[in-house]
Subunit: 201 residues, 2 copies
C-alpha cells in the first residue's frame, strides 16, 4: 500500500499535480492567456424544458472557450422540482437549492485550484450551506421582503498540512476569485427575451 | 385518446389544477400565510464534499419551512467538475453551468405558478441560456474583468392559448417574482466561516 502511495506521489511530483490539479498545465494556461487574451473568453450554454407544475429540466452539453466549441463527454441533465409543501412532486432539488450546488462547487474549486497553484496540499474539504428565504417575496405579499435568500451562510471545514492562518487566507482567496460567489454577491445583468411559438403541437 | 384527455381535464377542473399546479392549495397557502406569516419562512440547506481537483459533490436532503423540518423523498446529489480544457475530468457540469440550472428552474416555475394562479393554461415552455465569462477574473490577471458572468442572456419560447401581450407580461412577472433571478441580479450577502479540522484522517 505504501509503495503504491509512494509511486503515485512520484508521478504527481513529476507532473506537478497538486490536489488533483495539473499545476504545470495551469501555469502554462496562464502564460498562453497573457500572450493571447482571447483564449480566456468562455461562453457557457444551457437548454431548458418545462415538464409539469414545478418540474422542469435543464440540459448542458456544449460550451465555447479557448477559441473553439466543445462538447461535454455526455449531456448533464438536471431535474428541478418543488417538495409537496411547495406544491411539487419532489422529483428533484428546487432552484434555490441548485444555487447552493453552484456556489459550493465554485468556492471549493477556487480554493483547491488556488491552493494547488501555491503548492498547498489539501486533504479534505467539507462544506455546509444554509439560506433563509421568506415566501412573502415570491408570492408578492410584502414589498419589503426580497424574493431570494436574505442571507447565505457557508461553513468550510478543511483538513490540510498548513497553518490555520494560511487556510483562512485560502478561504478568503476562494471568495475573492470564485465566479459564482461574484454572481451571487454582486449584481449580474440578466437579459430575458421572449419568443412566441405559433406552431401547433 | 380524446376521452382520456377530456377525463383528465374534468379531474383538473374539479381540483382546480392548472399547468400541474394545484391552484386551490396555492390560494389556501396564501390565505394561511396572511394569517400566520411565519409559515412563509423557509431555510434551505446543503452539504458539500471535495472529491479531487475540480470534482466535488453537493447533497441536498432536508429543509425547514412552514414551521417544521422536512426530509426530501431521496437525497439529491450533484457532481460538479470542469471540462479538460479547464483542467478537470468532465465528471459533471461546472459551477457556473449550475447557475443556469438554478435560474432556468426558477424563472420557469415562477412563470408556470403565476400563470396557473391567473388561470392561464400553458402548453410548452422552452428556454435557452448563454453567459460570457472571462477567465482573467478567476485567474486574477485583470482587475477590470469580473470573475462571474459579464451578462446572462435568456430566451423563453412559449406555446399557450394566450395573447402575445399576456405572455410577455408573464415573462416579466416571472422575473419580478423569481427568487433565483433576484439572487443573480441583485447582491445577496454570503457569510463564509472557516473551521480548521485538526483530527487526523
Amino acid at each position: 500500500m505504501n509503495q503504491i502511495i509512494q509511486k503515485q506521489e512520484k508521478i504527481e511530483q513529476k507532473e506537478n499535480i497538486v490536489n488533483g490539479v495539473n499545476v504545470s498545465k495551469l501555469l502554462e494556461t496562464v502564460g498562453v492567456i497573457k500572450e493571447k487574451p482571447e483564449i480566456a473568453k468562455f461562453n457557457f450554454k444551457a437548454k431548458g424544458k418545462w415538464i409539469n407544475g414545478g418540474h422542469n429540466r435543464t440540459t448542458i452539453s456544449e460550451f465555447y472557450g479557448a477559441c473553439q466549441n466543445f462538447q461535454r463527454s455526455q449531456p448533464f441533465v438536471f431535474e428541478k422540482d418543488e417538495p409537496p409543501v411547495l406544491l411539487g412532486n419532489d422529483q428533484g432539488a428546487n432552484p434555490v437549492e441548485y444555487v447552493f450546488a453552484a456556489l459550493d462547487g465554485c468556492l471549493t474549486t477556487s480554493l483547491i485550484y488556488h491552493a494547488a497553484a501555491q503548492g498547498i496540499k489539501i486533504d479534505e474539504v467539507e462544506t455546509s450551506f444554509s439560506g433563509d428565504l421568506n415566501l412573502h417575496g415570491f408570492l408578492g405579499l410584502d414589498k419589503n421582503i426580497r424574493n431570494g435568500y436574505e442571507k447565505i451562510k457557508v461553513t468550510f471545514k478543511i483538513k490540510a498540512d498548513a497553518s490555520k492562518e494560511k487556510l483562512q487566507e485560502l478561504v478568503q482567496l476562494a471568495q475573492k476569485r470564485s465566479p459564482v460567489f461574484d454572481i451571487v454577491s454582486h449584481p449580474t445583468p440578466v437579459e430575458v427575451n421572449f419568443e412566441e411559438d405559433n406552431n401547433q403541437i
